[in-house]
Amino acid sequence: MKTENQKAWFFVLPVLILVAFNALIPMMTVVNYSVQETFGNNLFFWEGLTWFEQILRSERFHAALGRQFLFTFLILIIEVPLGIAIALSMPRKGFWVPVCLVLMALPMLIPWNVVGAMWNIFALPDIGLLGYFINHVLGISYDMTQNPFAAWVTIITMDVWHWTSLVVLLAYAGLVSIPDAYYQAAKIDGASNWSVFRYIQLPKMKNVLTIAILLRFMDSFNIYTEPFVLTGGGPGNSTTLLSIDLVKIALGQFDLGPAAAMSLIYFAITLLVSWVFYTVMTKDDLN
């Protein structure tokens, strides 16, 4: 007879408590708000799924979601190939390796709101170095506070500047783990540079790239601080991404119910996309 020891549960208890306080309880509060209406004074009225219906049918939500997907799509399509290209051109050994790594890591060490403020000042048409240069030296009209296109160019450039390094460092880690024998065998097999990339480097980087894309998707899809500091969602609503809109509804209009419902939908979309992507990318590894 084997007696089962239940003591192990005690060891998980601290983690359960921690997770409860930093995730489960706040999350359940949001769920609670999402099905009720409140006018303050701690008075709540049951609303059922009304807010969810309202959000899902709201054109404002559709527009913000569309902008959000466009933003994430654009930064991924720029940062991933650019990151891989930079990683490929970095030295594999010698004096310059640590120099390159530190330079690459620098943008990621800067606090998000500082990045926003930096780029704000940098891109202002009259006093910013970049803004002044484009307007007065190149003679191209560029003002992110007036022109939606200029605002988009600026937030995309800022994100590329801030986060391409993450893709670079992960891709580089994948590249340096490839044994020399692979390159030697490819040389002997007469493989072209493209074949080496396609059949050796890319497959060996696949796992780290999956993680890189996943992290970049989640971070960019939930991005708030940088565009908020840079453009504040403007001009008009042109750079009002999902999270900026959410904060406007929750804290600007104090519509806690719709904001809570929107948060849950937002969360579900992030989770769903991440899950589908990860499942598709790793299904080959299972067999």
Partner: protein, 363 residues
Amino acid sequence: MAKITLKNLRHSYMPDPQGPEDYALKHLDIDWEDGGAYALLGPSGCGKSTLLNIISGLLMPSDGQILFDDQDVTPLPPDQRNIAQVFQFPVIYDTMTVYDNLAFPLRNRGRDEATVRERVLAIAEMLEVTDMLDRRAAGLSPDNKQKISMGRGLVRNDVNVVMFDEPLTVIDPHLKWKLRSKLKELHQRVKATMIYVTHDQTEALTFADQVVVMEDGEVVQIGTPVELFERPAHTFVGHFIGSPGMNVIPAELRDGGAFFQGQNVPLEGAVKPGTDGRIEIGVRPEFVAVGDTGIEARVNRVADVGRHNVVEAMVGDQKVSAILNGPAPAQGDKVHLQFQQSQTRVYSDGWIATDPAPQEVSA
């Protein structure tokens, strides 16, 4: 297929080598005959992988030339030398099927699909991987992956030489002998020149017709497995090949004979005139017998290794091993050691210094 000649080859990994100690390879002159099965044997760090990479073109030698059929290929990159190399860890292209892996070197060289198909199927048949052709190569076991690596080398029918760099390192022991005999069989079928690098004497001696023994960047002996075993040209070869290795016993030369602990030891032949330097007697444990007369010794240890007993005896403070097929003395026993004359030689500064024994006529 080609004959490979190495001429005055030297290589240093330093940009500005000074003395011989800066060279990973110190002056090599070797001819590899077309279609031969060679092994390059030596301890780790002796320069055998360096030599292999120079032949394949992955490394450019500091000095000297590599000739394939008298044509200088020294400056050519690997893909223009038409060679194949199998590495220590199996290199396969993970995302391709086994078929595409085998076809890869041919497709890169622009062969048409019909030729590719014919060659791939033939090689797959030889390697017994036909039933795996449609599978993704990533899921294969290490020994099958290594087979595919070999296949990629053999699939081109015009390769000058196929080189193996310790290819069985990651293979399970019970599969090692299987792959080894497969290799031997492949060599007989494709008749390509093969060079097999290893530090494992069993692998070298079973695979090769000719074994090149290297130590410290130099070739110490080239010979058939039998020659290396029976008449090592250098004490290193004697010691490195055999289990246990040859007894190397400090001795002195006087009156034209060799003396060990004051006793004359009969030798296979005359000592070459003018021999001096560090004198040692070399005799393999297989040719040391225990008898009533001979050199007095005390048995230090007896190991029963199954087929025979390995007796470790002490003559003074000198250790001498003997392999005995019959009953072995016990530890602590006083015994007399006899060295078989035709297998006892003198080495001076490591190199053999006696004339060979006259050929024995077998009864």
